[in-house]
């Protein structure tokens, strides 16, 4: 067992070891606003496809949805309120048999398809992972060029949890063959509104 005193001394030991290393001053560089030329919607859709997701219109999504016969759907999107079959539970373990989660994203990055979401979009942090299929609703006016513009928009706004999600759960750990649906969502549909 480690006592409280030892914990303090480890902290001091590490910090004083660092302080003992002579170092010349190195400037922290400013990050230029790298841009990306082209049609953002097209670039975003191509990126999502590359990440093994799919971009749909509202109509296409509404056509797809009934074909899946989901018995359990949770929607936190105002655009698809009526599609919820269940309320958000208290305990994320109850989401184990969730077929589809419909959530809203805050912004999308055209260079790589990454979509930013925070606690306020997720309801429960486990939701976008534990659900079998995931749909993210995104305002097409909220597309930015690169990650730099993405972080500019997010700023330091404080959410306990935030994530860039760019595709479905995937792995290539068996002989580098790509398999979709490792642990988390087996598909990602992005509905551009």
């Amino acid at each position: 067992m480690v006592s409280k005193e030892q914990i303090m001394s480890s902290r001091e030991r590490i910090l004083s070891a660092i302080a003992g290393v002579p170092s010349e001053s190195k400037k922290l560089p400013e990050i230029p606003a790298f841009r990306l030329a082209g049609d953002l919607e097209e670039l975003f859709a191509t990126a999502i496809m590359g990440n093994k997701g799919e971009v749909l219109s509202k109509e296409e999504f509404e056509k797809w949805l009934p074909t899946m016969h989901f018995s359990k759907v949770i929607s936190l999107s105002n655009h698809f309120k009526t599609h919820s079959t269940h309320e958000l539970p208290e305990d994320p373990h109850e989401l184990e048999d969730l077929g589809l989660a419909i959530l809203e994203g805050q912004l999308g990055v055209a260079e790589n398809g990454a979509i930013w979401m925070e606690d306020s979009n997720l309801g429960l942090r486990a939701l976008p992972f534990i659900t079998e299929h995931l749909a993210i609703v995104l305002d097409r006016n909220k597309l930015v060029e690169t990650m730099h513009q993405g972080y500019d928009l997010i700023g330091n706004a404080s959410s306990g949890f935030g994530l860039f999600i760019a595709g479905p759960s995937k792995t290539a750990d068996i002989e580098q063959s790509l398999v979709i649906g490792a642990h988390g969502a087996k598909s990602l549909r992005v509905v551009l509104i």
């Binding site: 480690v2 914990i7 480890s10 902290r11 030991r13 590490i14 910090l15 070891a17 660092i18 302080a19 003992g20 290393v21 170092s23 010349e24 190195k26 400037k27 922290l28 560089p29 990050i31 230029p32 790298f34 990440n51 184990e96 260079e111 790589n112 398809g113 990454a114 606690d119 429960l124 486990a126 992972f129 534990i130 690169t146 990650m147 730099h148 993405g150 972080y151 500019d152 700023g155 330091n156 306990g160 949890f161 935030g162 994530l163 860039f164 999600i165 760019a166 759960s169 995937k170 792995t171 290539a172 750990d173 068996i174 002989e175 580098q176 063959s177 398999v179 490792a182 642990h183 988390g184």
Partner: protein, 452 residues
Amino acid sequence: MSHPANATEFLKDQAKAKWHDETLWFVRDKRDRISKTIPEWETLRELASQIKDHVLANLGSYLEDFERNALKNGIHIHWATDAEEHNQHVLRILQEKNCKAIVKSKSILTEECHLNPYLEKHGIEVVDTDLGERIVQFLNQPPSHIVLPAIHLKKGEISDLFHEKLQTEKGNHDPTYLTQAARIHLREKFLGAKVAITGVNFGIAETGEFVVCTNEGNADMGVHLADVHIACMGIEKILPRRKDLGVFLRLLARSATGQPITNYNSHFRSPARGKEIHIILVDNGRTAQLAREKFKNSLKCIRCGACMNTCPIYRRSGGFSYGSTVPGPIGSILSPGLDMKKHSTLPFASTLCGSCSDVCPVKINIHEQLYEWRQEITKTHGEFGKGLSMKLASGIFKSPLAYKISGSLMRSALKTLPDSLIYHPLNTWGKSRNLPETPKETFQQWYQKNRS
């Protein structure tokens, strides 16, 4: 065993060694192609390098900022000077929570600290949840690559293993089928774990948050279902500002696997209601490395694995041949800092071709440091160095195959030798658009100089 001896072992299965070589080359090639789609790629590398240099020059104050902000966010902070103390912290938290089974996502640091055997010794079941890591865990092996843990295995071997461990159909080699079996198996573990452990890709000083990147979503599946999240973080993982992530997330996945970003990039700032987050800040040789002027910037590494994928020796000798937690070129400059004697042959497991330095997203001068370690090992430890050159000699020159390989990989030879020496076409090198620099010294020259 020395690196040459291990490499010889790996090369016994020539078909598999060839596959290993070609597959990693393919990953390297993907990295090349995607990096060329970003006009500012080289500028990004330079920025990443400068940001990391700046962090290393101000590490103490950034760590204090990080700690202060994380504490403000309701995160518990623990400091560990070495692996032992790190492991004790983890065990203590688990015991406080009365927890007997945990899930863990990929963390090279916990490998470095040998956390799994430590916890198992204390009666805790540890389940590695990254698919590749679960596979090697079933085999009681460490990962052979920091990004692709099971790259040394063929699907037939994994099929046999899953047949034994997960009762999959015998002879079914289909990766989709095998992955599905692992999904079902691990789902149960995720749902049952009260504590989840992750590594940390980046810690942000100004916000006190940390970022974990995965493609599988296994880190998140673990932590969001558990009550307690323990994040194990090397003290060098700090970035000053949140916006620095823009630079690093653009570089990381592209360098690692040639994809534009990992599918899940989670930013943990404060625990969800009723839950706990603990960060363990680990030194374990890092401050010592920081004090070595010539080697300090090896601490800039973001563990993308690109230097492994590009390294002709790594590709042809396999991760296990290095006998260190982090293999490949970066492992060969980190490991001697931890134990020079044990890892004395690693800085020689290189052609000094410089391809590692050319692909490194944070511009670590890896091949120059390899050269420096050679000097260090042979000069400062004269006696020890003598033994070493004999060891190298007996390892490489007694084994015709290993000799051929080390010989054929020598920089000078690469340009001129025909494609016939080993199975792999040497024009692999011609494909590389990041042309290597001329090495300061070839292996042969080095050997001549140091053999007496």
